[in-house]
């Protein structure tokens, strides 16, 4: 217990907790959209594609997160555009960009003279080295996401649920789709710092899936996802510190443990209900 109190006094650990909470908020919200609209695969594609942006930015001497953001958003818009305007299967486009991005990233990083940046931190997350700048970016993302969803929750949900029907009502379907996919890309890119590329998709799917076990309401699912996200990531954080293992892995591991516990609880509740009736 004393150790924990001591830990909490360190600036890096306070930053880490801040990052975990902020990541949980933005991922909780956007992840619910991703899971409900069934674009998990697209999101995976965007995630890995954005690695290309990291490599190119590193090569040009720019901020890698900025590179990832631009590349990620472009991939996202590209996937949405290609699948709507051409006859190429969306699946295939995602697969292509997924691999292309990773390949470009690696090529540009190794082409850069000097030492390669700590690739591990981008691939697996490095929440214990989160800077104040990272926290500002994560906060801005949270504010943006919250604003978008507070003011446009119903149109977003209605269009995601039944796009064809929304079109008959002349709803701004295209605008909303592009806006949301760009937001997805931003959420992914900024959270790569916390959980890493390999696993950021899990932050966007597992807490949401757990929440979905207990509620069918979009808004409540968001809140549940945020809650489970915070719980899981704080647990994972302590685990990462104790075991000196990349945070991405321990956080996701915590999520899976929570998932298993939640599933057992859900099934037990169902059994109880059946016994009563």
């Amino acid at each position: 217990m004393n150790e924990i109190i001591e830990l909490l006094s360190y600036n890096f650990f306070q930053n880490a907790i801040g990052a975990a909470i902020l990541a949980s908020i933005s991922c909780g919200i956007i992840g619910t959209y991703i899971v409900a609209r069934r674009i998990v695969f697209i999101s995976g594609g965007i995630t890995h594609a954005s690695f290309g942006g990291i490599g190119i930015a590193w090569f040009l001497g720019l901020n890698p997160v900025l590179g990832a953001a631009i590349f990620g958003v472009l991939s996202a818009l590209g996937i949405e555009w290609v699948s709507k305007k051409t006859d190429v299967r969306q699946d295939s486009v995602i697969g292509i960009l997924w691999a292309l991005g990773m390949a470009l990233g690696i090529i540009f990083i190794y082409m850069t003279p000097g030492y390669a940046p700590n690739l591990m931190s981008y691939l697996f997350g490095s929440i214990l080295t989160v800077s104040n700048l990272d926290l500002y970016l994560l906060s801005a993302l949270c504010v943006l996401t919250i604003l978008v969803f507070v003011f446009m929750m119903r149109p977003i949900v209605y269009v995601a649920f039944d796009e064809g029907y929304a079109q008959t009502h002349k709803a701004p379907v295209q605008f909303l789709n592009y806006l949301m996919i760009a937001l997805v890309a931003l959420a992914i890119v900024l959270n790569i710092r916390v959980v890493g590329i390999i696993l950021v998709i899990s932050f966007l799917t597992i807490p949401q899936t757990i929440a979905n076990m207990f509620t069918q309401d979009f808004g409540k699912m968001i809140l549940g996802a945020i809650g489970f996200g915070v719980l899981g990531s704080l647990l994972g954080l302590f685990m990462a510190y104790e075991m000196n293992v990349p945070s991405g892995a321990t956080i996701i591991f915590s999520f899976v443990i929570l998932f298993i516990i939640a599933k057992i609880v859900q099934l037990s509740l169902l059994k109880l209900k059946r016994k009563e009736s």
């Binding site: 069934r38 119903r154 039944d162 029907y165 008959t168 009502h169 701004p172 069918q216």
Partner: protein, 245 residues
């Protein structure tokens, strides 16, 4: 009779393919039109033109006396994602979305309207349930509410027989009969499917559109036709044979 919608010499299709040729159709205030035709014959294309989802290659689509947003639409069941986390009451509210701006609020009046509708359709007890928990018939009533909450003047049902197994959807057509008092209704059905005798007129769509103004054949006249199909059922089944075209 008030004309609501008129299609004049409409040609429609996708990319390079023309699916519908020279379609002429008028929908009037108390019409109850059945549209039948084979798959690939253009029924869906015709619906998309009426709903404004695609523009005709040639010809005019003219709406009289109605905002072109006021068409109620009940889509086929296979277009619905039943796993989506959305409760019944929100699905019905979404029928008002064309009346709201992007940041528009859904007022308590709106919610009250939805509540009244749900009560009339006998689904008020389902209002907080996720749509995945509903039976086909219940789902259909939910989407019917969604279609009519905006007080449309034309109601279009796209293959409603896909929701419920039985062909004779007595309940649905009883409701439609009542609705027909203040809106025109168009029901799209399968090829040689059973279409309720409640339908007043029929349009056959197969590349073009052929309109049958209540050509009711009675039992006597039936005997003089060499009907190639035998209808097998229990009890009496009213059916009509259309003029060849």
């Amino acid at each position: 009779m008030t004309k609501l919608l008129e299609l004049r010499s409409v040609y429609a299709g996708y990319d390079n393919k023309v699916v519908l040729q020279d379609v002429n159709l008028t929908v009037k205030k108390n019409d109850f039109l059945g549209i039948i035709g084979p798959n690939g014959g253009g029924k869906t294309t015709l619906l998309k033109v009426i709903l404004g989802l695609i523009k005709p290659i040639e010809g005019q689509v003219e709406f009289n006396n109605i905002d072109d947003n006021l068409i109620g639409y009940l889509p086929q069941i296979n277009t619905i994602d039943q796993k989506f986390p959305i409760p019944v009451r929100e699905v019905i509210l979404s029928g008002l979305m064309s009346h709201k701006k992007l940041f528009g609020k859904y007022t308590s009046d709106d919610k009250e309207k939805a509540k009244v509708l749900m009560q009339q359709m006998g689904i008020l007890h389902l209002r907080n349930k996720n749509i995945g928990e509903l039976s086909g018939g219940q789902l259909q009533r939910v989407f019917l509410c969604r279609a009519i909450i905006s007080d449309p003047q034309i109601l279009i049902l796209d293959e409603p027989d896909t929701y419920v197994d039985s062909h004779f959807e007595m309940e649905l057509y009883a409701v439609l009969d009542q609705l027909n008092d203040h809106m025109a209704i168009i029901v799209v059905s399968h090829d040689i499917g059973t279409i309720s005798s409640h339908v007043k007129t029929i349009a056959c769509v197969n590349g073009s559109l052929c309109y049958h103004d209540s050509n009711i054949i009675n039992q006597e006249q039936l005997k003089t036709y060499n009907c190639p199909i035998d209808l097998i059922t229990h009890g009496e089944v009213p059916h009509r044979v259309l003029k060849k075209h």
